[in-house]
Symmetry: C2
Subunit: 288 residues, 2 copies
C-alpha cells in the first residue's frame, strides 16, 4: 500500500530528526518547532525512495536526505517573514516569527541551512568524491541559481503581470530545483548509474512541475480548512499562478501530462519504481 | 613590509570575488554591495597566509578562502537587520537592508551563505576527503554551535547583565569560531601536519580573543569617523564588553597577553610565520 510505504519512510525521517542533538535553548526550540509544523517530508522521502529504486541502502542515505528537509524548512521560515510573504499561519500553525519573534526566526533559518551542510559533510559510508558531488549539487539547487534565486524572482514579481515563461522560471527555481536535487541525491548516493540518474532527473522535473500546478489548482479549489491557509492567498498577493494564466481546464490537462511524463520515466525500473510512480499519482490526486 | 604583504593577499581575494559570475539582477547587486562595503578580508587573508606558512599554494586555497568572506558578509547583513541589531550604517556605508530593503537583504544573506558552500564543494586540486573535512569544519563553525549560536546568545543577552564567562562564550562563538576555522582551513588545505594544524589553532584562538578585546577597547576609545560607526554603540545596546566588565586597564593587559600567546605559537614556524606574527601585532595596535 502506498500510504503505508510513505508513512514508513516518513517515520524513519522524523525519528532521525528527533534524535538529532537538540538542546533546551530558544534556537533549538525554534528550529524544532518549524521542523515539526506539519511538513509532508516530500524531499527526504523522495531521496530515500529513489535510493531504493536504484538498489541503495536507506540508512546510508538518511543524513543527506534529512539535510533536504532542513533546507526546505529554513526556506519556509524566511519566506514567511514580514519582509517577505508576511504570513502569520502555515499549515494551520503560527509561523516561526509569530511564535519566536523575527530575530530568532531569521537565525533559526540560518542555523537550519548551515546544519544541512553540516549533515551533508558528516562522515558517511560513500566515497568522498560522491559525497562532495552531491553536496555541490545541493548547494547549487538551494542557492542563487536555484531556490534563493526563485525567491528573489518571486519578490521581484509581486504585483506584476508575469508571463507563463516567467512563472515557469520562478517555479523551476523556487520549488523545482530542490525537488529535483532530492531525487538526484537519492540516485547518486544510492549507487545509480549515470543513465539512471538522468532518467530519474526527468521524473523529478515532471513531478516538480505537476506538484506546482496542483498546488496552484488547490489554491483556487481547495478548502481552507484542509489546506491550512486562506484559499486564494496566492491571488491575494497578486502572484500569477498556472490556472490564472492558462485557465483551470488547461492547467488540469498540463497536470495530467506531466504526471504521465513522470510515470513514463519510471518504466525502465519496473517493480522497483512502483513507489515513485504511486507518489506521482498521489501528488496529482491529493486534496491538500 | 607587512602592509604590502597584506595588500597583496587582499588584492588576490578581491580579484577572485570580482571575477565571480555576477549578474545584473538585484540579488547579485545586493550581495556584491555588501561584499565591497569596506571589509578588511581578515578571514580569507588568514587562510591564505596560513596555507603559505605550512608550505601550501595560495591559488589552490583561494576559492575556499573566499567562501569564508561570503559567510562573514552574510552574517553582517543578517546581523544588521531591524529584527537583530537594527544598524543603518556599517563602516560608514548604509547597511544592505537600507539600500535594498529587508526582503532582498535576507535573501542576499541566504544566497551568500549557500554560495560559500557551493565554492567549498567545487572542484579543487585536493583529495576529496580533505575538502570534505574542511567543509564540515566550516559548517560547524558557522552554525548553531558556532557563529549562529553566538548571534543567538547575543540576542538573548541584550539588556541583561552578562558575566565575563558568558561574554567569552558569545565571542568565542560569534567571531572566534570563524576566525579559528579560517586558520585551520589554510593549515589543512595548505598540507600542514596535524601537529602544525593544532599549533596554528592555538594561534587562531589567541588572535580571535585579542581581536575582540581590541574591538571593545576601540569602541570606548575610538574616534567615530575612523570606526565608521557611532562610538559606544555597543554600550548603547547595553551589551557587555571586556573593558566594561574587567576595566580598561585589565582589558589592555589581556590584549597584550593574548597577543604574546599568539606569537609564541608561531615560533616553531620561524621565518614562515612572520606575516601571521605581524598580523597579530597589527591587530593589537590598529586604530580601527
Amino acid at each position: 500500500m502506498f500510504k503505508t510505504s510513505y508513512d514508513s519512510y516518513l517515520q524513519i525521517v522524523e525519528q532521525y530528526i528527533k534524535d538529532m542533538p537538540w538542546t533546551e535553548d530558544l534556537m533549538s526550540k525554534s528550529m524544532y518547532y518549524s521542523l515539526f509544523a506539519g511538513g509532508k517530508r516530500i524531499r527526504p522521502v523522495l531521496a530515500l525512495a529513489t535510493a531504493e529504486c536504484v538498489g541503495g541502502n536507506i540508512q546510508d542515505v538518511l543524513p543527506a536526505a534529512v539535510a533536504l528537509e532542513l533546507i526546505h524548512t529554513y526556506s519556509l521560515i524566511h519566506d514567511d517573514l514580514p519582509a517577505m510573504d508576511n504570513d502569520d499561519y502555515r499549515r494551520g500553525k503560527l509561523t516561526n516569527h509569530k511564535v519566536f519573534g523575527e530575530g530568532y526566526a531569521i537565525l533559526a533559518g540560518d542555523g537550519l541551512l548551515t546544519y544541512a551542510f553540516e549533515l551533508l559533510s558528516s562522515r558517511m559510508s560513500f566515497p568522498a568524491e560522491l559525497q562532495l558531488r552531491v553536496l555541490h549539487e545541493v548547494a547549487v539547487a538551494a542557492g542563487r541559481l536555484g531556490m534563493v534565486g526563485g525567491q528573489v524572482l518571486d519578490l521581484d514579481g509581486e504585483g506584476k503581470d508575469l508571463t507563463l515563461s516567467e512563472i515557469e522560471d520562478i517555479n523551476r527555481k523556487k520549488t523545482g530545483a530542490l525537488l529535483q536535487v532530492s531525487v538526484r541525491l537519492g540516485a547518486i548516493l544510492g549507487g545509480g548509474r549515470e543513465d539512471q540518474i538522468e532518467t530519474l532527473t526527468r521524473y523529478a522535473q515532471a513531478l516538480g512541475l505537476a506538484f506546482q500546478i496542483k498546488d496552484d489548482i488547490l489554491d483556487i479549489e481547495g478548502d481552507s480548512q484542509i489546506l491550512g491557509k486562506p484559499v486564494g492567498s496566492d491571488q491575494k498577493n497578486a502572484k500569477a499562478t498556472y490556472p490564472f494564466l492558462m485557465g483551470l481546464e488547461k492547467a488540469r490537462e498540463c497536470l495530467h501530462a506531466q504526471t504521465s511524463k513522470a510515470l513514463e520515466a519510471l518504466e525502465c525500473f519496473g517493480e522497483r519504481g512502483r513507489f515513485l510512480a504511486q507518489l506521482a499519482e498521489y501528488m496529482k490526486n491529493r486534496q491538500h
